[in-house]
């Protein structure tokens, strides 16, 4: 059951270009958390920024009650978050939303773009013991934006990088790396999180090769619990009704074609 509580910051450090990792203790949230869910964080205690910030669970340790977040500084909220120091209380709600389904006995592929890699680490941790093979691809602008490889390798999973400037791994888009190096015959199930164009390309790959999968969507959010109806999106252009990203998602099964952004069902 989700709660609203004061967690305690354990560490908060810069791990890349505009990328930070925060670890905090929140045992009630950690014990209920599933990969793909998020926490709703109040950065600062003033009126500006006013609203909470939804951040995905990068890693969770149920036994120690610790949650790790990976966040990119994009505005005032995340800027304030980066100033939190050890032992500072953190106002946090969660776990919220519907996370990833954990498949079993499959060969799974995880494709993350930028800070969209965050929910895929916790997912990989949970998938690893259940499945035959876990492959991770991570795309970013440059090597300064790739910071998760050690964490994946600690799980015994190799994370293939693609950078636009070629400073690490494959030079180019992660979706080009996907097309060039992944034999669809070796994959049963796909998970993706990142910028919409990237997810659209991954969804296209899945659709072309008849692979089932899931993606994690993003939208401006206020309440985080399905009350304000602010984070609405359409999953299919033809569908008159909207889903709530916070409550019905953020994870949805492929194919998705939301009508507002790129078509995630294109083949």
């Amino acid at each position: 059951m989700p709660v609203c509580m004061k967690g305690t910051v354990i560490s908060n450090r810069k791990v890349g270009r505009e990328l930070w990792e925060m670890e905090f203790a929140a045992p009630e949230i950690a014990s209920a958390a599933r990969p793909g869910q998020f926490v709703h964080i109040r950065a600062g205690d003033d009126h500006d920024p006013l609203l909470r910030r939804p951040l995905s669970l990068y890693d969770v340790d149920v036994y120690s009650g610790l949650i790790t977040l990976l966040y990119r500084i994009v505005g005032r909220g995340t800027q304030l978050l980066s100033r939190y120091t050890v032992d500072q209380p953190l106002d946090v709600m969660g776990p919220l939303g519907r996370g990833f389904n954990l498949v079993q006995d499959k060969r799974v592929l995880l494709v993350g773009g930028g800070v969209g890699i965050a929910p895929l680490l916790f997912l990989a941790r949970e998938l690893q013991p259940l499945n035959r093979q876990v492959t991770v691809l991570h795309g970013a602008g440059n090597s300064q934006e790739i910071c998760s490889r050690v964490r994946f390798s600690r799980l015994g999973i190799s994370c293939l990088a693609a950078t636009m400037d070629g400073s690490q791994g494959f030079k180019g888009l992660v979706t080009d790396l996907l097309e060039k190096t992944i034999d669809p015959a070796d994959i049963d199930y796909v998970y993706t999180c990142g910028p919409n164009p990237m997810m659209a390309a991954v969804a296209g790959f899945a659709a072309r090769h008849g692979l089932a999968g899931e993606l994690s969507l993003e939208e401006y959010m206020a309440c985080g619990v399905g009350a304000c109806l602010g984070c609405a999106q359409k999953l299919k252009e033809s569908d008159p009704s909207y889903v709530k990203i916070c409550q019905d998602g953020p994870v949805f099964p492929l194919p998705v074609s939301n009508g507002n952004g790129p078509d995630f069902s294109a083949t």
């Binding site: 609203c4 206020a222 304000c228």
Partner: protein, 305 residues
């Protein structure tokens, strides 16, 4: 110090404390059941409900602004029957004080919805949404013309014995004339204020941010406007006021009460602190006790000159 009585009778709406949660910020109550005992809230004003299901506006629907937010949800709701048959029974079981918020495309539609809910024992009062800035029909058009306000309030009153509380729009030149028209129509209390119309621009895309272009501004940014309007109406119109607009603390709530509100509603603040209504109700009770008063009535309008 005697016994403190925090109950409020707002034009016939019995509230166990003076703090309500505002329509559109609390869903149908159950969304927040994990975080607080919603039966202890003064009144839960549920999401604006129409005769038929509505899908709402295209996204983006919300956007954060300095000390506030814009929303253009567009009255997404499942329709009155789903509310009455699927959501209301469990709220009744839990003893929640439920205020229905209704909106319609026409005066007849307001009357029809009212007839449908009039004899429902689970509903304590009707808040009349005549101030939604985000729909083409069934919103602000009814709340910005005094004659239409009087007509729609009268039509609703003739269909129900429940207290009728029109929610006024701040997007008018003369709020007092609107409030007076509502009183002439037979309103039992006034709810004020709804959101202020605004917008945001995306510089990179050179387009409005919101899918609906315009949205309603809420949050602490609008508190001074709300206070001013409540103050003006309190002086001129003899009706109890449910005051809200950017309340995020007990002190904010006290400002509204001192400006003339008999009870307050917490809206956008719920998104930030799910237990805000509960916290403010407790804070007000403590304040009343500290001041050696026996109830909140003694403070209503105390700052009005």
């Amino acid at each position: 110090m005697g016994i403190i009585d925090m109950t409020v009778n707002l034009g016939g709406l019995e509230m166990r404390n003076p703090v309500a949660v505002a329509s559109g910020t609390f869903g149908y109550g159950r969304e927040y059941q994990n975080y607080l005992d919603i039966s202890k809230i003064g009144a839960v004003i549920v999401k604006g409900t129409t005769l038929e299901e509505r899908y709402g506006n295209q996204p983006p629907r919300i956007y954060e602004t300095p000390a506030g937010m814009l929303n253009a949800i567009g009255l997404e709701n499942p329709g009155i029957e789903v509310f009455l048959n699927q959501y209301l029974p469990s709220l009744m079981e839990d003893g929640v004080t439920v205020v229905a918020n209704i909106a319609g495309n026409s005066v007849d539609e307001y009357a029809l919805i009212t007839r449908r809910i009039d004899n429902n024992p689970g509903i304590a009062a009707i808040e009349l949404n005549i101030s939604c800035p985000n729909v083409k029909q069934g919103g602000m058009q009814f709340g910005t013309d005094p004659e239409l306000v009087r007509t729609v309030v009268e039509a609703v009153k003739s269909e129900t014995v429940l207290p009728v509380i029109p929610k006024l729009s701040p997007n008018v030149t003369d709020i007092v004339s609107i409030a007076k028209a509502a009183r002439e129509g037979g309103a039992d209390a006034l709810s004020m204020i709804n959101t202020l119309m605004g917008m945001a621009i995306d510089v990179e895309r050179r387009r409005p941010v919101l899918g609906n272009i315009f949205g309603g501004l809420s949050g602490p940014a609008i508190k001074p406007v709300a206070l001013r309007m409540i103050y003006q109406v309190y002086k001129e119109v003899d009706l109890p006021i449910l005051g809200g607009g950017g309340i995020t603390s007990t002190r904010d709530a006290l400002e509204f009460i001192l400006a003339g509100a008999s009870a307050v509603s917490v809206g956008t603040g719920n998104f930030v602190h799910p237990c805000l209504a509960e916290d403010i109700a407790r804070g007000l009770e403590n304040y009343v006790g500290e001041q050696g008063l026996s109830n909140i009535d003694e403070l209503v309008g105390a700052a009005v000159l």
